[in-house]
């Protein structure tokens, strides 16, 4: 199997509906219609260009970490930030006080900074400034704040801004109603047409636009693209300014624009999610603006009071801590006097680039030094390990691999957790397929659960049970919304719910057990196995199997047990649960892929055909599936009924070792879980997982920093602190470079997305983070609001990246460490524009060496390689 090139320039379903109707016109109007057609396609192109500044936002049922600036990647990291800062008002770098604290604590040193400066064209004076800026940052930032505050207070808000606020309110109101299915759209007209049908009845439209204005809104052209065109003309926005103006309009509701972008460009065509596309969104916003443009949008004075209070506060965004560490730094200890203070006027961004790079290089130096150890003595490794365990490249797998290797003769391998199976998975009794593959790919196979038992009654009970639970929740929900039933439901329901709520709060562990038991009573567990769709021939299955084995480099020396271990996270009451699941499985749990992979590799006909490709799997080797629950660090071996009697003892032994490793990893993790420093069991990993009051059940991928592509020998025995994506790769067995090409264009891009998502959510809590989880308000089942109303939140919540008011995640760009020949790397980079953009545009740092005996070399943009010298 080949991965398609990783790129977002997929076909554009945004416009297919709307352009279709252009075409059957009278002959005499042909010229007209052609010109119109050109206009429309130019406008569509402009919309597509404008939408680059927005990142797609997946529904929360499958949270996907994205680089918020992904479509700006043709610019460099720095330029993209500058650009987005103008449009989205994002903050692209950590604050100066963040760096100041890093400097104070030794996390970044003078040598690091000097090393960075010597690599750049920054003059010595500026370098000096950097130091004194650090010591003066406090005054500087507060004066900046003061200036802002004054400016804001002096300027009264113009009508335009108030208009924009009013339109925001209307747009988010309709978006939430439409996405939540509250606007009737039986024939799938799309958001714009549905809005147009109802806005004529909207009281607020009448109030702010007047009766005439409301009528204008309701009589806008039927086709949204016509509306956009008409409105842009009416607003007299010049052709050259269009992209910029559209960008700014999309940026005002970053969340809903992101959702619309996902719906337009990334969603599966068969999706049942409401058709809220970018064109629709823009058409609605521009309609309001056009009609309201000359209206006086005045807010009552009390409302203005609110507005100004908030803007005044804006200067103090950080008084509550979060990124700002001013208070703690306000001590003399952070001010060594040895460095002369000069005041040169250096652009803040330049300084931050230097600081960020130095901060990253410090970690790079630490990591490369940590990897410098005597080569793992291969002679002490057993000829054939007791078992081989394949884990996802997810950073959390590093911990479990380290501990598993420590408890027994196990070999572990890192590989993308969907096991090269881009499959749509249908759980038993489910009506909807789950996309179990990275969002950059498309599905190729369908896998279903097939009951292993022939006892039909049990299967029926299982399916009936699922249907009963769905019916119960539907019935309660209907009664909740019914005028006659809602009152008694709440009253009577309260007497049942109250004691349960107390149990859930006071004894979450026991409640969880009780609930699981009840669930098993209603939906009895039945043994199943993965079944591939009949249309997949054995030959195709073999190609999946050989691709899987060769990409992970497991083609010989098979152990008697090979564990394919997916991962997922069991958490309670967590809207962001999917952000803790397997990103390679499209934000879902990874068990299905592990099971499908094991099934595939255990098939005798697949194995016999693999022999033709010189992959000889011994008859005594079996593949088993497992799932690592990253919240509890328990690893469950799945489908025990499929394990032959000959291997049962081995599997039992393996399970015992997995339990030991898991327990040790959980203990290790406890040290930095917030609030876990008590004797209370509910604060420990297992307790947190079942606790509905827990907003930080685990740290997820926070801390992720590097992507290491090398044999496990390079990293074995080193405690990498669950911060590295580990992809196993042996350059010697990959002469053609195709495996490396796959790794760089798919898993590395996924790792980069995750890394960039964590980076931006950490450095920009205001715009690119989802804000405080404790005030989240789920809307329309697709996302969260912060508080009572407004825009969808994008990115990760504060609790995912911050520990109290200190960043837990260290914001750094991804460091790719690859053990492969330079020439091979360069030829792959040359073939893929996305890799050139990422490596040459400072999005990812690349360090490589040809072989274990070589020195590490750093790749600078443009393909300049330089030997790694750690800053002393």
């Amino acid at each position: 199997m080949k991965y398609p090139a990783a790129t977002s320039s997929t076909t554009s379903p945004t416009t297919s509906n709307h352009t279709a109707r252009v075409g059957h016109m009278d002959n005499k109007h042909r010229a007209d219609s052609e010109r119109r057609h050109n206009d429309m396609s130019r406008l569509l192109a402009q919309v597509e260009e404008a939408v680059r500044v927005i990142a797609p936002l997946w529904p929360l049922s499958t949270f996907i970490a994205v680089n918020p600036l992904w479509d700006l990647r043709s610019m460099s990291f720095y330029d993209a930030i500058d650009y987005a800062a103008q449009i989205l008002e994002i903050r692209g770098y950590p604050t100066e006080s963040f760096f100041a604290e890093a400097y104070t604590s030794g996390r970044v040193t003078k040598n690091d900074i000097q090393a960075v400066i010597s690599d750049t064209d920054i003059s010595y004076e500026i370098a000096n400034t950097i130091d004194c800026r650090m010591y003066n940052h406090q005054n500087e930032e507060s004066s900046e704040v003061a200036a802002t505050g004054n400016k804001t207070l002096q300027n009264s808000y113009s009508n335009d801004t108030l208009l924009a606020c009013a339109v925001d309110r209307e747009l988010t109101k309709w978006c939430a109603a439409y996405a939540g299915g509250m606007l009737p759209d039986p024939v799938k007209n799309g958001f714009y047409r549905t809005w147009r049908n109802i806005v004529g009845s909207d009281p607020t439209a009448r109030r702010i636009a007047g009766k005439e204005g409301r009528k204008q809104l309701a009589t806008m052209p039927e086709n949204p693209i016509d509306t956009i065109s008409k409105c842009l003309d009416r607003l007299s926005i010049a052709e050259n300014d269009r992209v910029r103006e559209l960008e700014r309009r999309l940026a005002r509701t970053l969340g809903w624009s992101g959702y619309a972008k996902w719906r337009s460009y990334w969603a599966d065509n068969s999706t049942s999610r409401p058709a809220l596309t970018i064109v629709d969104l823009l058409a609605v916003r521009l309609s309001y603006e056009t009609v309201l443009r000359h209206k006086d949008i005045s807010l009552p004075s009390a409302h203005l009071g609110t507005l100004f209070t908030h803007l005044r506060r804006k200067g103090h965004l950080d008084t509550r801590g979060r990124l700002d560490t001013r208070d703690r730094l306000d001590t003399e200890r952070s001010r060594p006097h040895s460095i002369p203070a000069t005041t040169l006027d250096t652009p803040a961004t330049t300084l931050k680039r230097v600081w960020l790079t130095a901060y990253e290089n410090h970690y790079r130096d630490w990591l490369l030094k940590a990897l410098e150890k005597p080569l793992h003595p291969t002679s002490t490794r057993p000829e054939r390990p007791a078992a081989q365990a394949i884990f996802c490249i997810d950073t959390r797998s590093e911990g479990i691999r380290r501990h598993l290797e420590a408890v027994g003769q196990y070999e572990t391998i890192g590989f993308a957790g969907f096991f090269s199976l881009p499959m749509q998975y249908l759980p038993l009794g489910s009506a909807e397929y789950v996309d179990q593959y990275p969002v950059l790919l498309t599905s190729a196979i369908q896998v279903t659960d097939e009951p292993a038992t022939k006892a039909e009654t049990l299967v029926n009970r299982h399916i009936t049970g699922i249907q009963e639970l769905a019916a119960a929740s539907y019935a309660l929900n209907s009664a909740r919304k019914g005028m006659l039933s809602t009152f008694m439901l709440a009253e009577a329901g309260g007497f049942f719910a109250g004691p349960l709520a107390a149990a859930k709060t006071l004894a979450p562990g026991y409640y969880h057990k009780l609930r699981d038991w009840t669930h098993r009573m209603i939906v009895p567990y039945i043994e199943t196995h993965s079944k591939y769709d009949n249309s997949i021939s054995v030959v195709e299955q073999v190609s999946f199997a050989s691709n899987l084995l060769t990409t992970m480099g497991l083609t010989r020396n098979f152990a008697p047990l090979v564990l394919l271990c997916g991962h997922g996270s069991t958490t309670e009451n967590n809207p962001y649960a999917s952000s803790l699941d397997c990103g390679a499985c499209g934000g879902n749990r990874g068990a299905a892929n592990a099971r499908a992979g094991a099934t595939l590799l255990n098939q005798p006909d697949v194995r016999s055909l693999l022999k033709e490709q010189k992959i000889i799997i011994p008859d005594d080797t079996i593949f088993i599936a497992g799932e690592h629950d990253t919240a509890t660090d328990k690893i469950t071996i799945l489908d025990l009924h499929l394990i032959p009697a000959s291997h049962i003892d081995m599997v039992t032994a393996l399970q015992a070792d997995l339990d030991r490793a898991g327990t040790e990893l959980a203990t290790e993790r406890t040290s930095n879980l917030p609030g876990a420093n008590t004797k209370s069991k509910v604060a420990l990993p297992v307790g947190r997982s079942a606790d509905w009051a827990q907003v930080q059940p685990e740290w997820g991928l926070a801390g992720n920093a590097a992507f290491i592509v090398a044999p496990r020998e390079l990293t074995a025995g080193v405690d990498l602190g669950r911060r590295c994506f580990l992809h196993s790769y042996d350059s010697d067995t990959d002469d053609s470079g195709t495996v490396l090409e796959t790794i760089l264009t798919a898993p590395m891009v996924v790792a980069h997305w995750i890394n960039a998502q964590y980076y931006f959510s950490t450095v920009d809590l205001e715009v690119l983070s989802a804000g405080d989880k404790t005030a989240h308000n789920i809307v329309a089942g697709v996302g969260v609001l912060q508080g009572a109303a407004g825009d969808l939140q994008v990115g990760l919540p504060v609790q995912s990246v911050f520990d109290g008011n200190r960043p837990f995640h260290e914001p750094m760009r991804l460091l790719a460490i690859i053990q492969a020949p330079q020439a091979k790397l360069e030829s792959i980079i040359a073939r893929h524009s996305v890799l050139r953009e990422l490596f040459d545009g400072y999005w990812i740092h690349l360090v490589a060496r040809d072989n274990p005996y070589d020195r590490w070399k750093i790749r600078h943009p443009g393909g300049v390689w330089q030997h790694w010298e750690p800053a002393e």
Binding site: A85, C165, G787, A789
Partner: protein, 545 residues
């Protein structure tokens, strides 16, 4: 002042434990306020929570003492022998006391973990305990003056709880609006209290009969006083325009909402019942309160069904539920109102606590069943389950002995019918399902009947007598009429469109809250362009240098 205070001696010797627990339940939360303010950090919050449970335990023991020995009180009496300050423990007050204290403790237990990284959570714990202490006094106060004072304090403490995270979007606007509206409602109550004081002094609530006789002395002002009390109750219980403050409060962290919906918003009902003698004699006040409450029940519930954000939907649901509860008060169905107040408190706290569970994961939509029940059988099954549940409920003794309970049974029947009808619409028809479902509904109906019957007969002796101003319970059925009417006019497309737009619009907070929530995220940018531009207060340090 020539009043001499001395310790009341009413049966002090016999029920010392009960009295100590009664005082403890009220005072311990005050200690917790101090503890959480002094001890910043996790340990302080844990201590406050433990004290919360101590107070809940004290309330429960106080209840047991009432069950064993009957009502008792702790009072500080004035010179004329009537109480000045004091707490009263009877079946009604201790039940409410347990509700308030347990809710407070549970909210804190939840919040200890939920707010574990919140830097200013001590303010939440302090405010929560202050709310609990003052609501505990509202529930148990022996005199009108103390009740009114505690009521005002509870409101202020709750405003602090809403506003404790002023950095969150919309929180300041919401806290300010709540303060304003509470000020309005509480002023009404304070004025009422002044009027009462001028006419009758500090009214004792120790004996219902005594209170009634005092109330009769207010003859001229009684209607005004009743109206003022009603305004206070309607404001606190978020009714109609007086409830404008409610939707914005979901901007505050979840535990604040749980506290509000379980322990604060039901204050209106508590006030009307405890001040029954002062408010329920006025036909005008009761009619006005009924009209406002029932309208809110209808409108807010309809808006709720159109809200797509979970917390907003819960907030409007509460407004509707409180409307129904207050309407029950105005028809004199006090037991029904109390049951609703208690049941709804637990229900809404649970819903808010679990409000993060509303994201369905992929693959959870089940295959539709092969065999479904046909419509006639669906009808029959629904009817039989309704009849069965009602029968099981009625078998429980004393369910039907209270004022207005018959009407409530109609609502119960409608609820069972709605659940069953929806259930049989999508559920597979297997013998097992039919048996389990039917038994389940009957058991649930029976259990609820049991709880309602027991709680009802437990509280009845302590209930104030119902005044002459209350309406007939049959008026409650206007909710049903409205429900059917709305369903009916929804069949007319033109009306449906209008109604839908209207409901969606009312349900969305105003622009000021929206701007508030922007919190400086007024975006736009770059150079001003000819003809059109958004203003850009560009303030990010360094990002666009």
């Amino acid at each position: 002042m020539n009043i001499i205070y001395y310790l009341g001696t009413v049966g002090m010797h016999s029920m010392l434990i009960g009295r100590i627990c009664l005082i403890g339940a009220v005072v311990v939360p005050l200690v917790a306020v101090a503890v959480s303010l002094v001890d910043d950090g996790l340990s302080g919050r844990r201590k406050a929570t433990r004290l919360g449970w101590v107070s809940a335990a004290a309330a429960i023991i106080a209840t047991i003492m009432v069950a064993l020995n009957g009502p008792y009180s702790v009072t500080l009496n004035g010179g004329n022998g009537s109480p000045v300050f004091g707490l009263l423990a009877n079946q009604l007050t201790v039940t409410l006391l347990v509700l308030v204290c347990v809710v407070g403790a549970l909210v804190q237990s939840f919040a200890v973990r939920y707010l574990q990284v919140d830097q200013v959570a001590k303010r939440f714990f302090a405010a929560t305990n202050a709310v609990v202490a003052s609501m505990a006094i509202v529930c148990t106060s022996a005199t009108a003056l103390v009740l009114v004072t505690a009521w005002v304090t509870a409101g202020l403490a709750f405003v602090v709880a809403i506003g404790y995270r002023s950095d969150l979007p919309g929180v300041r606007a919401s806290a300010r609006l709540t303060l304003k509206m509470f000020a309005l409602g509480d002023t009404a109550l304070v004025v009422a209290m002044i009027l009462i004081w001028m006419q009758a002094g500090n009214v004792s609530l120790l004996q219902p009969a005594l209170t009634v006789s005092v109330a009769s002395r207010l003859s001229k002002l009684s209607t005004i006083i009743a109206l003022l009390i009603v305004i206070a109750a309607l404001t606190r219980s978020a009714q109609a325009v007086l409830g404008r403050w409610m939707p914005g409060t979901v901007s505050a962290p979840t535990p604040v909402s749980a506290l509000l919906h379980a322990g604060v918003v039901n204050g209106g009902g508590i006030l009307l019942i405890r001040f029954s003698a002062l408010s329920s004699n006025s036909v005008l006040a009761m009619s006005a309160a009924f009209a406002v409450a029932i309208l809110t029940a209808i409108v807010a519930t309809t808006i709720m069904s159109k809200k797509t954000d979970i917390k907003g939907s819960l907030a409007f649901s509460t407004m509707g539920q409180m409307g129904f509860m207050l309407a029950e008060c105005t028809v004199g169905a006090y037991i029904a109102a109390l049951l609703h107040l208690i049941g709804h408190a637990m229900y809404k706290a649970t819903m808010f606590f679990g409000s993060g569970s509303q994201i369905p994961r992929a693959g959870q939509v089940p295959v539709p069943p092969v065999k479904r029940v046909s419509t006639p059988i669906r009808l029959a099954a629904t009817a039989m389950t309704v009849a069965g549940s009602l029968a099981v409920m009625v078998i429980v003794p004393e369910v039907l002995t209270h004022h207005g309970e018959l009407i409530i049974m109609a609502f119960v029947a409608a609820t069972v019918a709605a659940i069953c009808w929806s259930w049989w619409g999508i559920c597979p028809a297997t013998p097992r399902t039919i048996i389990f479902w039917t038994i389940g509904m009957l058991v649930a109906g029976g259990l609820y009947g049991l709880v309602a019957g027991l709680l009802g007969s437990w509280m009845t002796p302590a209930l104030p007598s119902v005044g002459s101003g209350v309406l007939s319970p049959w008026w409650l059925l206007s909710v049903a009429v409205a429900g059917i009417a709305i369903a009916g006019i929804n069949q007319v497309p033109a009306v449906r469109n209008r109604l839908q737009a209207l409901l969606i619009d009312i349900g969305t907070p105003s622009t000021s809250i929206m701007i508030g929530r922007e919190q400086g995220r007024i975006r736009g940018g770059g150079d001003s362009l000819p003809g059109y531009s958004y203003e850009t207060p560009n303030t990010w340090s360094g990002s666009a240098a």
